[in-house]
């Protein structure tokens, strides 16, 4: 039975912006420092460090090696890296902490989507024999998923627009958000299609950014933080890759991850969902089983700022922030990997 006494005690993120001229490591240096400062941990005492990033975003193999310079890797540190969103780095650190010999861990995630064209880049994430040569891009895949959702009768185009409008409105109170404003669904529905039935605003913005989290265990967390955000459950699952192999209107791996994380559909104050296309929020809400009363993406979510490889970790940060500041007592954070919600991570957070 996994431990339930590991908590988020410090975090930081860069503002989400379209094009930050700083390199990934330059984004990380102040972000990591800020998270460590918030936690009150001495950098040299951190027991384990884990980073998440994707070489292809910068276009250089071993791009992640430079990011180690933000981790304070001298004297040498116990460290690892996942080629994934920083939320999976947090998972690896959470596993490592449960060995009980260390009390603290540093996690970070970073990515810049501005250098490459995402619609050109991400087809290379697909099956290299059957899908990548077709050049299928994420917006087209998301369009197919949205179409399936409409055909199933589970949602309408207005529902998509409502998700976007609520995201932009919520983002007004998020200083790190990239897209924010008072927009209404009617105005959004008047926009032209981008990849039908999706409009440009149903897609995430192109974002550069980074985020960092400090985790601590048991008494260490209590000593350093007056109200730690305890990770009561954490799990991640993957679905088959081939879009034709699954019902695109569901996310079975998100359902499974939520159940394995100990979330059974009970009351939750806040949910931060990594729904990078507006219809995915509707799919995730159902897959995870969130009640009507739960506030979804008070930060604005990825539609308001989507620093790839940090966006999932930021969901955990945003959820933890609301526990730590006392405005919520139970929160669900979600991260995703791959296209069409293929891989999903769910983190259940609580106050004392």
């Amino acid at each position: 039975m996994p431990a339930t006494d590991i908590a988020v005690i410090g975090f930081a993120q860069t503002p989400s912006v379209r094009d930050d001229a700083r390199s990934e490591v330059q984004l990380l240096v102040p972000t990591v420092a800020e998270a460590i400062e918030m936690s009150g941990v001495d950098r040299r005492e951190i027991g384990f460090t884990c980073a998440g990033s994707c070489d292809y975003l910068t276009g250089g193999p071993f791009a992640f090696v430079q990011n180690l310079e933000a981790a304070g890797a001298w004297p040498p540190i116990a460290e690892s890296h996942v080629e994934a969103d920083g939320a999976w780095a947090l998972y690896e650190a959470w596993v490592r902490l449960q060995e009980g010999d260390i009390d603290t861990a540093l996690v970070f995630g970073s990515g810049k989507s501005s250098p490459a064209n995402p619609l050109e880049l991400w087809p290379q994430q697909l099956d290299p024999y059957y899908l990548a040569p077709l050049g299928v891009d994420p917006a087209s895949l998301a369009g197919i998923q949205a179409r399936a959702l409409l055909e199933s009768g589970k949602a309408t185009e207005r529902d998509f627009a409502e998700v976007v409008a609520r995201s932009r409105r919520a983002a007004r109170s998020n200083p790190n958000a990239q897209l924010k404003g008072d927009v209404d669904a009617d105005a959004l529905l008047a926009e032209p299609y981008f990849s039908s039935p999706l409009r440009r605003h149903d897609l995430p913005p192109i974002t550069d950014g980074a985020a960092a989290v400090v985790l601590a265990r048991g008494d260490k967390a209590r000593q350093l933080c007056s109200r730690p955000a305890w990770i009561r459950g954490l799990d991640h699952r993957v679905d088959p890759h081939q879009p034709g192999m699954r019902d695109l209107t569901t996310a079975p791996s998100a359902t499974l991850a939520a159940r394995k994380a100990g979330y059974d559909g009970g009351p939750v104050d806040v949910a931060e969902l990594c729904a990078v296309f507006s219809p995915q929020e509707i799919i995730l809400r159902e897959a995870i089983g969130l009640p009507e009363a739960t506030e979804i993406n008070p930060s604005g979510g990825p539609l308001a700022g989507n620093p790839v490889m940090a966006a999932g970790l930021i969901r955990i940060i945003e959820a933890a922030a609301r526990i730590i500041d006392g405005s919520a007592n139970r929160a669900v954070a979600h991260a995703t990997g791959g296209q069409l919600l293929q891989q999903n991570l769910v983190c259940l957070l609580e106050g004392e």
Binding site: V25, P30, T58, W74
Partner: protein, 183 residues
């Protein structure tokens, strides 16, 4: 992107060539470095915490994990010591232009603590290049200087501005002077 298939050996092999274009701005730190370089000056950042000088500047000190900026800028002399080198026999791959053995040397400038990697050494036969050899920069004439090869990833630190280093003829540096910089 082109996709072709053909019979290679007994198995079907699909050729799938992918071309991705990246438009990456130089970081503000490197932008400033390049402006100075084009004007014939090599600048670095001195860490306010440990006083180490990084060339090119990183915008932070990786040892102290503190940010550095224009206020930490220092100018370095364009001469230094070869702290390590190898002669590369190039292998062919897509985009490779080198065909003959070439020098890949690290040069520690006199005022710097971080060596410049991947430098060419000229004016001396390959077999006479040695660790500890004192060298100076060979600058391209002002009109011919370009920033080609300078990138955020640290390849070719001096781009097409300093084309190589050449021996100064001074006595070699003692190993103590460079053993901590043999990258």
């Amino acid at each position: 992107m082109t996709t072709t298939s053909g019979d290679k050996k007994e198995n079907l092999v699909m050729e799938h060539l992918v071309s991705l274009t990246y438009h990456e701005k130089l970081t503000p730190t490197l932008n400033r470095f390049v402006d100075e370089l084009l004007a014939g000056r090599i600048v670095g950042h001195r860490c306010p915490s440990c006083s180490r000088v990084y060339v090119p500047p990183k915008g932070y000190c990786p040892l102290c994990v503190v940010a550095t900026g224009p206020e930490n800028e220092v100018q370095c002399r364009d001469r230094g010591i070869v702290t390590g080198f190898t002669i590369i026999t190039p292998v062919a791959y897509y985009g490779q232009k080198e065909t003959e053995p070439f020098v890949y040397a690290s040069v520690l400038l006199d005022d710097a603590d971080s060596p410049l990697g991947g430098q060419d050494i000229v004016g001396i036969p390959h077999e006479q290049i040695r660790m500890g050899m004192r060298v100076r920069a060979v600058w391209k004439p002002e009109g011919e200087r370009t920033v080609e090869g300078i990138s955020n990833r640290g390849w070719g630190g001096l781009g097409s501005v300093v084309e190589a280093f050449e021996p100064t003829g001074e006595p070699d540096a003692a190993p103590e002077e460079y053993m901590e910089h043999i990258f």
